[in-house]
């Protein structure tokens, strides 16, 4: 049995779009929008409230006060320490993701203010190799923690990740204790850590820093699970509850402090940051 187990950390890139299906079509009610319309509604479906995935830079624009975000460690990049090659070379996958997203890796971080409260802001991007965490993501997150601790400001981190980046092998697993050690620094200071979990926050990221927020906030409908529903179903043959692993289920079982719809997120974070000041 053990050999069949598809162990916990899974990640896939975004599912390929079926031909003819536009990314701006709501998967829930099939309404279709132009980019500007979705920008206006913060990428929440005006018809049914479905929360679309938000790219990292767009998320920064949604949360940070205009012009306050100063990105750090822009030039930090993933290496390919194992010379990993599956059907394609990892180095090729990184280059392609960089071209496609315009990002150096799956997390951007820097100083910002939210509702005029200074903080460090780190945001993950699922479009970069499924938001997976390799050495570059771990290092950028750890440095964001260090800057926050040094300045004595809170860290706000918005996660969207399938888990550890298996192309970096065991080093990607080591980003779990590494980011946990970084959060420990915040806890010791203490500097507040606000974890905002968005769809999806799973596996290695859920099993490390994301779960250690002083306050944990989730977006509606987000999948927040150590093991995703597909693997749980395949491995255990259990019948899954309809809301398996969703933010709502996590709230019911006590794993998150609040589910905050995207339009309310920025004012909510403003209030939280004010209380920690």
């Amino acid at each position: 049995m053990a050999s069949r187990i598809d162990v916990s950390i899974e990640h896939r890139g975004p599912e390929p779009e079926p031909p003819g299906k536009h990314p701006n079509t709501c998967p829930s009610c099939h309404s279709h929008y132009r980019d500007e319309e979705l920008d206006e509604s913060l990428w929440v479906c005006p018809q049914c409230g479905h929360h679309f995935s938000v790219r990292a830079r767009r998320r920064v624009d949604q949360l940070a006060d205009r012009g306050t975000f100063e990105e750090q460690d822009k030039d930090l990049r993933s290496a390919d320490p194992l010379a990993f090659f599956d059907l394609r070379a990892y180095s090729e996958r990184i280059a392609e993701a960089e071209m496609a997203t315009g990002l150096g890796d799956a997390l951007i971080a820097g100083a910002a203010s939210i509702e005029r409260r200074p903080c460090e802001l780190a945001v993950m991007d699922f479009a970069f190799m499924g938001g997976s965490m390799g050495s570059a993501v771990g290092e950028k997150f750890a440095r964001a923690c260090e800057r926050a601790a040094e300045k004595g400001v809170p860290l706000v981190c918005v996660t969207a990740s399938g888990g550890a980046r298996m192309q970096e092998g065991i080093l990607s697993l080591m980003q779990l204790p590494k980011t946990v050690a970084a959060v420990d620094l915040l806890h010791q200071k203490p500097a507040a850590f606000i974890s905002v979990m968005t769809h999806p926050t799973t596996a290695g990221v859920l099993a490390s820093f994301a779960s250690l927020g002083d306050v944990i906030v989730a977006e509606p409908g987000a999948l927040l699970a150590f093991t995703g529903p597909r693997v749980v179903q395949q491995t255990t043959r259990e019948k899954l509850p309809e809301d398996f692993g969703l933010a709502e289920s996590n709230a019911r079982f006590g794993h998150v402090d609040a589910i905050v719809p995207r339009p309310e997120l920025r004012p909510y974070l403003g209030r939280v940051l004010a209380l920690f000041e």
């Binding site: 053990a2 162990v7 899974e10 970096e168 092998g169 065991i170 099993a207 699970a225 093991t227």
Partner: protein
Amino acid sequence: MTESTEGTAEQLRLRERLARLRDLPLLRGVGVSGELSRLQHQIDRIAEEPSADEVWRAVELARHQDRPYTLDYVERIFDDFIELHGDRSFADDAALVTGIGRFNGQTVALVGHQKGRDIRERTHRNFGMTYPEGYRKAMRVMELADRHRFPVITLVDTPGAYPGVVAEQHGQGGWIARSQLLMLRLGVPTVSCIIGEGGSGGAVAIAVADRVLMQENAIYSVISPEGCAAILWRDAGEAKKAAAAFKPDAVHCLELGVIDGVVPEPPDGAHENMDAAAELLGESLGIALDDVKKRDPKARRRERSEKFRRMGIFLE
């Protein structure tokens, strides 16, 4: 490695690797104990890049049905051992055992995954796949150890944390994270050894220690070879290729700076001679523990954090 190519990058790498090996207190310790030929064998093995077949052999041996499990070692290494049960909240997870015992004349706390030997025990032990209750039990015992200044030894052997509905509902991810955090905060010396499968988050949850060792034929990985193959090759049958690509064997883990030392096994693997395997493991654990015990608690804690903070390879 051919002798004729002088000063190639590969030779340089080999030389560096050997230099690092000589600094390893564990290997020196094994040598002192009269296991010179074994030491030589191990150096020879480590000096060479393991082939795909060797990596796969480690995968097979790490999962061998007769491989010694945590309690097999406890029985042989500890002079006395009292198992402690339950997470004081909800359940007693049999996939992970905890307790206090006598090791080299001192009381230590022990945390270790436990697989089952026959089908009944395997089901009872859930194949060594822990629920959040298991990590909570581990944390409770580590806190006890911290209060009473008992060093903590953890033995890692799990395919991964249990991927089930109830485990998720009980907060699997969060407890794995909190267990790591607790291990970083412990004031007492901590030593971990991967004794079989070091499967992903379920393994690292109890492996954030001052010294992390790996048995010669253990594996430590972010995902199972089958899982990796299913995702990246879209075919679980390509597990051997996947294992060769992500290199979960002890030699590679040592090279990548993820572990601090390799614990030798009897020539054909730990399952061939449990007593000998236990002796070698006990010796290595003892050396590692003595080594970290010398540091004062504050410095030890800081060095532990810094060690994990440094892990990873990136470009800048």
